[in-house]
């Protein structure tokens, strides 16, 4: 792959509203690309991957950078909210600490000061590090299209989102009192590299022993297998023991499909994923 020093030529367009984004997308059809934080997009442009003559910058679009808790207790996170802002937010740390943790452990300070949560999810999809946590937190996502908008569970995003759609915000429901959370990621260098695999867990326990409810999001696996439903079923209603956690972790690793990459074989990643799930559940239990 040739990597060029210079970005190829294009025209930068700066719409101010979501409506203007869609009128530009309509006008330039397949010739325009959406541009959020830019940390991945510029890299791809320098590699001449998917370079298009028009770039639609989203930084000036109003209504994409909310980070607020509504009266119904739902946390709204706009697609253009910077990852560092989420990590630093007292409201996120208080009500959805799993999301704050995941954003704090993602990339580096520079990347978090530039990268957005919407860009992380929309451009990376299967390796998006925020996605397992958003799944475990049962987030909904609002997707805007030229003709309207839909709200879908984030785990169905890969199925619902089309190339000319705009991801506008995530909606995170308030969590039941006393709910516990855990997160583990495996990366070559902990504070720099993308998570090869990861696991995010939200666990609700009765009397500190029985698993009342659990959601498990997996990272580094193919999109349809990012929610470990089989593993959740194993845990639900059962007394939480090391044995049952190991069984659930095994089911999660078996259900999560992944390919080999330049660093690791699929078999190795599957073994590491099992360990990550096991540790994330144990972290949640002792949370």
């Amino acid at each position: 792959m040739t990597y060029y020093r210079r970005v190829p030529e294009f025209d930068y367009l700066a719409p101010k509203s979501i409506g203007e984004v869609f009128s530009l997308l309509g006008r330039y059809k397949g010739d325009a690309t959406l541009f959020a934080g830019g940390t991945i997009a510029l890299h791809q442009m320098k590699e001449r991957i998917g370079a298009r003559p028009y770039v639609i910058g989203l930084k000036g679009v109003s209504g994409l950078d909310a980070l607020a808790v509504g009266k119904d207790g739902v946390l709204t996170v706009g697609a253009m909210v910077l990852l560092q802002r989420i990590a630093d937010s007292a409201e996120v740390q208080g009500g959805w600490p799993l999301l704050a943790t995941v954003c704090r452990l993602l990339g580096t300070p520079q990347i978090r000061n530039m990268g957005t949560i919407g860009g992380n999810v929309a451009i990376r999809f299967s390796t998006a590090e925020t996605l397992p946590a958003l799944i475990a937190l049962r987030a909904q996502v609002r997707i805007a299209a030229a003709g309207g908008e839909t709200v879908v569970p984030v785990e169905n995003l890969y199925r619902e989102m089309k190339s000319d759609n705009l991801l506008t915000e995530f909606l995170l429901p308030a969590l039941p009192k006393g709910v516990r959370m855990g997160y583990r990621k495996f990366a070559v260098r902990e504070h720099f590299d993308y998570a090869t695999v990861g696991a995010a867990v939200v666990l609700d326990m009765d009397d500190g022993k029985t698993c009342k409810d659990i959601t498990i999001g997996l990272g580094g696996v193919t999109l349809p297998t990012m929610r470990a439903k089989g593993a959740e079923e194993i845990m639900k209603g059962r007394t939480v023991t090391d044995d049952i956690i190991a069984k659930a972790a095994e089911a999660a690793a078996e259900g999560g499909h992944m390919g080999s990459d330049v660093m690791f074989s699929a078999g190795y990643k599957s073994k590491v994923l099992k360990t990550m799930v096991e540790r994330a559940i144990k972290e949640a239990v002792s949370d």
Partner: protein, 159 residues
């Protein structure tokens, strides 16, 4: 496509015309002549191009100049005081042997500056986290971390 932008660079307001595809790094080095900010990997891995944008450390090679419109940029040239009096971070890097070839130093120092401006009392882990996007192939990081600790002390952030 050309864009008229206004930046505050090291305290001075500059207006200039930039092409859509120009990165902030290219504009700083080639249009404004501020060659203290270095180009190395040009893909966000090495941190040599780190500057602060409205006080936050960012990678100028991974940012379009047009998107910095209206913002405040500080580069390594903006640190020294009057009469070329070195900033405590620059002084500490020299005194602690945190500079060998020197090519990565501006990036490290700008990352450290962004940290100390927000957190004057960083512990070792916070320092390591703050420079996690900066690569040095000469010194091995120990002197760099010591230099940042010593600059923090001198700047009044003794813990």
């Amino acid at each position: 496509m050309k864009h008229d932008i206004e930046l505050k660079v090291n305290g001075d307001t500059v207006t200039l015309q930039v092409d859509s595809r120009r990165t902030l790094l290219e504009v700083l080095r080639e249009q404004l002549g501020l060659t203290g900010t270095k180009e190395m990997c040009n893909k966000g891995d090495c941190g040599g191009c780190t500057v602060t944008l409205d006080g936050n450390a960012v990678l100028s090679c991974m940012m379009l100049a047009v998107e910095a419109n209206g913002k405040e940029v500080v580069t390594i040239e903006g640190l020294a005081g009057e009469g070329y009096r070195l900033h405590p971070l620059q002084k500490a890097f020299v005194e602690r042997g945190a500079i060998q070839c020197g090519y990565c130093s501006p990036g490290f120092i700008m990352s450290a500056k962004a940290l100390l401006d927000k957190n004057p009392h960083p512990n070792g882990d916070q320092i390591r986290e703050a420079i996690s996007n900066n690569i040095c192939r000469c010194t091995g990081y120990v002197q760099i971390i010591e230099a940042i600790e010593s600059a923090a002390l001198e700047m009044g952030g003794a813990k």
